[in-house]
Amino acid sequence: MSGRGAATATATAGDLILAIETSCDETAAAVVQGGKVIRANVVASQVDLHRRFGGVVPEIASRRHLELSIPVVDEALERAGAAPADLAAVAVTAGPGLVGALLVGVSLAKSLAFGWGKPLVGVNHLEGHIYANFLTVDEDGQVIGDGRPPEFPFLCLVVSGGHSDLIYIEGHGRRRSLGRTRDDAAGEAFDKVARAIGLGYPGGPLLDALAREGGDPLAFDLPRARLEAGSLDFSFSGLKTAVVHVLERAALAGEEVDRADLAASFSQAVADALVDKTLAAARVTGASRIVLAGGVAANSTLRRTMLERAEAGGLTVRFPPLKLCTDNAAMIGAAGYFRYAAGSRSGLDLNADPNLAFGDQAVEECRGS
């Protein structure tokens, strides 16, 4: 186990979290130290399994989670060189997500925690995405970004297949929800448009790759959602419909649509909407720091647009490295650590909650009885 950075060596013992994440189609386990040092980050992707169905099939995902759960946990502990006795707690995603998938991780985490005699900490998946930004040392000992966690307060844009949320974060467990999507989540819109354009699964990354193949973001004039003045909510269904209309009109006229142009124009429209509302939220709250989180934070158009426009306005922007944007357990380990440090504990009756809320809440949200 040589080659780890100084950060690992100096972190104190007793703050190791084993984290488990099974909310969708990645079976993941990680060992995280002090909420910031990744000691192991194992992600068994099921993408190949679901590709032929054109999307995630919940029953198939749940079956696969059960098969992979023990091997993935075993590998995480092995890679971290950690014995169960070294662990401070077991953290697990309790929701939101696919209920059958979540139940595998929750059931496993509860029995592991009980078997080892360790505390259990239920974590909200969205909170996990945000805390991916607190991970500062990678599995191989490399420093991530500037090696420092984000400073409070900050404004967080969480964008994924299930969520588009603007959240003002004042401290650990202290947050205020400012806006959310009224219809499709940003990632959902990417997936649907990818399907309409004829791309496979997973749609978001494929669409991003296509847009980067020299697509012209100004080729198509797509609508930006207009919600009532002052709202920080998002709406993407009109934009998705506009893309479908472009394709239908072209088909009727027997014309070929430049798919790279359409992908680039759509990506830019989504990015503009997200950045507009984020900058508006920054003005309202006076926040000077913007943090991106979630799978869509890996989108290159969003990253570029946010960096350009926020920095022009004197705001700082940060986002996790690509592999920590998509679902993983290291982020759950980071969020779980700060919950654990704040005294949050879940009971053995912790349940999976597919619609677990995440709004103006304190640390108690996931606490069992």
């Binding site: 749940s62 023990i70 059958g100 139940l103 496993l108 509860k110 009980f114 078997g115």
Partner: protein, 248 residues
Amino acid sequence: MIVLGLETATNVCGVALVDDDRVLAEFSTAGRLTHSQRLMPLVEQALGEAGIDRGRLDGIAVSAGPGSFTGLRIGLATAKGLGYALDRPVLAVPTLDALAFNVWAWPGLICPLLDARKDQVYAALYRGSPPTGGRSLRRLGGYWAMDLGALLERLSAFNEAVLFLGDALPRYGPGIAERLGAKAHFVPVSGRFPRAAAVAELGLRRLAAGRRPGAAEARPIYVRQSEAEVKARARARARRAATNDGSR
């Protein structure tokens, strides 16, 4: 030896602790709370009331199906976690085996039936052992998911008395009685549900026979594929058929 048994294949959530000749604790509930909320608290309670430290367990036995897919996974994931954490074998006991074991001494055919939804039952057929026979329950054939008509067709080939039990009886009992007449016998309500103690005892027998499967090895018995796979396979068959026709 002490074995913990978990039963979550149907709407009954059960936990039991057995040793070689006693049931040390057994809880069964079919209340409003989900298995996910119930199971681990009952495990903790069973160990606490029996005064058994979890480190003294020799194995974890779990009802492996067929049954509710979600219920099976809650049971299996829990058993795997306990087995892994305690470094003990995890014994996947077929749910229908454990159910038939409730009435192992019946001198004839035993047919446990679970409601499989979609107008089907999960079933298997066993030959019981009269107390003087000294042998254990013998299963005739596999674990089935089929409609009642197909099942009764199979049973009628035997032309002998059959004892039925399981949670499918309220729905299918009258149809069975009508078809089989005096040959059909039904276990009373209190004896017809899956019991964690039976799962634990069958697990203990496997341990005693030297079996030591690890936590990663324990697998559920779904019997049925997922809907998506069934449909995908049907589509692939249709495609193949179309291609074959075209090439002729």
